[in-house]
Symmetry: D3
Subunit: 246 residues, 6 copies
């Protein structure tokens, strides 16, 4: 169910059956020496494939650029403003709705996209009240993450190129990880970083927010499998409304 | 030189050497029964790889959505407005320039993106006069195309899912083509289509603008090789200014 | 049928009969030493008068400023951004539709306006599907132009202050032409000019893109008469839909 | 000194000498049975010619559309939003400044344009502190108007197609006036019209806000001559700063 | 009837009865040495309370920032652009209408807000034709003001921190006035100030546009009582339409 | 140090000394039967006064409207879009910086404003790198809140009109609380509410997200005092940079 491999003659009926389009969205952003710039894209894509398989959803081509304000001054980062991202996703949503999709599930690999996804979703929802737009960023993994992590989290909401995200990569896209370069960082993030614009070079020179050497495929598996399970449930829940109506 | 596979620690120096970022841009759009919705993405990506190899350029992740107003009512098409596309490309350009790139070569697989690319390029150029932004859509192939084509062109500027584009696909991305479904269309495009908003359902029900059955890999090769050669020349020309300066 | 000379008491019924509003649009732009800055305005106005006469259309006051990015650094040019031009034309269209017009024919004397006209037309068409917006720039003259021209064209789409455009002026607005100053230019436009932002001072210091000394009234007549004929046909075709409905 | 009749080769030096560009701006708007839709354009143009003659200014082509919200539902009116008008005038100002003009005098024939002109002027002034943008709407005529008028004014700031404006037309553009159709209106404008959006059809069916039959060429002359004198003074004052600097 | 002191359980029914929301709007702006920066806010608030009492209207929390372009370079001024102000008021209006209000009376203490209020009102009116938006700035006080004032007005439309405005404050918010610091200014405002962007530092260093020492509570009372009376009438008039409908 | 009570003659020097402007920002929003619509405004204002006292900061007039999308359909809510809020706060920041302030501390009483504040802060920071913009929403109270709360939190990030917020009000603005109407709610918020646009009427009819009957002044005091202490520290930290520079 790779959308861009379908042809126009057959896709119409298949959309009506599937109802669900999944958009993987990530970013091009510095992720330390052991992870590639496209880490968030690889994660989003692999998650999308897994979720699509179980939900009969279409996977759309990845939107591989995101809002990376905090790390935009690090080598390799490409930053898209929230305004641009919001209108891009909004336009996509309009077409998807007009094409017959009723669930637009955005599987996100990069926290910085959260604001734009939510805002775009609200605009679409205002226009099409019977359109379910999901913005999914590892839903429901808080508890399991606390269980598997060995190093203390360096921040209450951010995690980046650390024990956790590196474990995700080891489980989902191991071929892009070079653990020999993983760093055991422990940056001190000042309280002010949460309340005033603070590019991350203020507290890290590596962009690694934690001890990446502690990452393992098994940790990744435990968290990711729960995230996938939750995403499937949320998408099935969203579909249910429309199926009933038929 | 796949940009998103690089890591942040090594990429800085490599950018300074390469200077050139290539963005493949295409669209998700109806292309008849024999070609996939992602045709323009596949073409742009394959072209980008070929051109990057010869120019030492980085290939950025593909921007896989474009402006498809004319075919937006056909099954499977996803339309991005010119406004959204312009700001998205503009934002990318700002980051690329700040990252040290001096040539931003957009390799385009979809004619409908032409307006947005040019407009974004002008905005970037106004802001960074020493930034070369190239928007490349099969440059310099007019003559060879006239030589290889057997069927008469149905329109002076459009070509779509026809003898020509199908030949491109046979040469660059054969695995996505199903020639057994190729149609020998010969739509009559009224003069008015060029002077008033005319969604293409007004003159075609297949989105195939020509005789796709005449497509061959060889025709594709002849045109594509010239396009690639021209793109390489244009990029090398653009680089030259900066190299001299060093 | 000069719209701004009508009075409000009588115009309503006349609009219902005529259905067609013609907007001449041009630019203030450098056109070499032998043609005035307002060349594109004079051409658009004279064409509009001729076409209106035959179609019972109203001629609106000329919008005398356009998008002249390429020549904006030449003395005398006044540049309007595409954004501004799009919203201006869009606003006009809304009023014209509400006033009862059903065909809005924009007769354009300046190629640089093409993008804005088309974009505005699409916005209006999305809002009023029964509104025909025509953007007309010498439609259907390709063949005759190739027949009459003596000098080779310097570019596949641009022509400017050259044999052709000067001939137009000699036929339509001779009083503004000073042939004694006409220049026999033959600028070499590099391939890059089509693929990267290139203000025209890069390849011409005169803004004359061709051999203006070859211009004659007769050449102008041949081309212009065909353009006018085609415009009339296109407008009559656009009107037909509405007349039938009555 | 008609700008669009100049050619690009000679205009540069002339701009440096003149420094002043005059833009006539009006509207297409209902003006009762005795005045044409283009009344405000004709007035602005004639005033501009007179003022230019005395100040060595260039007259730019008329911008013949304006903001006519109040009368937009009357037959023949064409309404431009403030947003569109602001960006259009702003764009013009940028080009005029870059071309070497230092005084941009907008001679306005339509009160509804006042907000847009002022806002555009402020934006330009913020960007170019040494650019004088004048927005001129019959400056300094309050006293003389009170002296010449016979009928009481129907409103403290509006006047429209009435004794006064018709007198202007009789003096400046008599050929467009049909006094045999002039109406002796005396509309009662409620206080609420000044404090809540009130399209004028709420208090007039003719768009004539006063007794047009009282109009005379002589009244027009008295007021207009003072307006012209004031405009000349204001433009000369604006020029003075720059001349001194040389 | 202080809106923000109501609770959500009871307010719905009360809105349906009241129908009227009053928004006091002012500015933070230099007002000379004897008046506080918040002068326009204090005036708007006190007026709103008085008017609400008589009309059964709800008083919304004050919007305490406005467009103060002319005085933005004076110590203490905080300037909001017209664009921002328009969208803010527009958003408020949308919510008020959806909440059941049918009259949105903006009581304004600062002339600079006039453009934004009117523009926002027109946008709201276009969207909700049965929504009455009033923008009220001391309506109908021209005559009484001329009667009470001793010093000649320094400008035909502006008044600022002068005999008149200080009198308003003495009557409505005496506790914020320090008459011992009142200045007897008599600035000469050049004619050009009305026709070209002119920050007020060009003609005053105090921001006091008149003889503030002549201010008295009695003068304030005379004018303000008439303003209040007129505002009540206008609001009652606006309400009447809706009451009838029930 | 109430900014709007200062006068323009004295404020300049005081700004230079103080350097800090505090903007209380809240919302008009449903808060159940026991709390007023202006709850978030009252909280922000009282906090601002307390913090200003200790930091020598100026308190600006409260911006009393915020983004209340989630509760916008509840009686009494007034919703401002993120776009409008961003530009409003941005404009304020520009003026504050130009007036000499170097720390702009926004004390927020309403979580829904978080996105707009952060986005506006980033825009200001991009323009003025030496401008510290703080967005403060009860910073650093997570631990103490967990200690004092008796009822389990109904959501990991939201709290609304519940044990906690009601305790804040009892401590800071007791006069607006009617504990006799407090409800012991325990809404079940589905996981989907975090990943798809979900107006709160989907899971609550009261807008009370928790057991408000458990609120006490003492609980409020414990949390609020820590929030205030943290805000003071953050502001003093922000000021330090500038003081050193002198």
């Amino acid at each position: 169910m790779i959308f861009q491999q379908e042809n126009s003659f057959e896709v119409k009926g298949k959309i009506e059956k599937s109802l669900v389009a999944i958009l993987p969205i990530g970013a091009v952003e510095a992720h330390g020496p052991h992870l590639p710039l496209g880490t968030d894209n690889f994660l989003a894509e692999r998650l999308a494939e897994r979720v699509a398989e179980k939900t009969g959803a279409y996977v759309l081509p990845t939107l591989p650029y995101g809002q990376v304000w905090s790390l935009k001054n690090f080598p390799g980062s490409i930053n898209i403003s929230n305004e641009s991202l919001i209108s891009f996703i909004y336009d996509m949503g309009v077409s998807l709705y007009e094409q017959g999709f009723r669930v637009f599930a955005i599987i996100n690999g990069h926290l910085g996209n959260a604001v734009a996804m939510k805002e775009a979703a609200r605009k679409l929802y205002a226009q099409y009240p019977d359109f379910k737009i999901l913005y999914l960023f590892y839903p429901g993994v808080k508890k399991v993450t606390e269980e598997v992590r060995e190093a203390k989290s360096v921040h209450s909401t951010y995690f980046h190129a650390c024990e956790i995200e590196t474990s995700y990569m080891l489980y989902l896209a191991e071929e892009y990880v070079d653990m020999s370069k993983a760093l055991p960082e422990d940056p001190q993030i000042p309280m002010s970083a949460d309340v005033t614009p603070t590019p991350w070079e203020a507290f890290t020179s590596t962009a690694v927010l934690g001890n990446a050497t502690l990452a393992t495929k098994e940790k990744g598996e435990k968290i990711i499998e729960i995230a996938i399970e939750n995403m499937i449930k949320l998408i099935e829940g969203a579909k249910r409304g429309f199926k009933k109506a038929e």
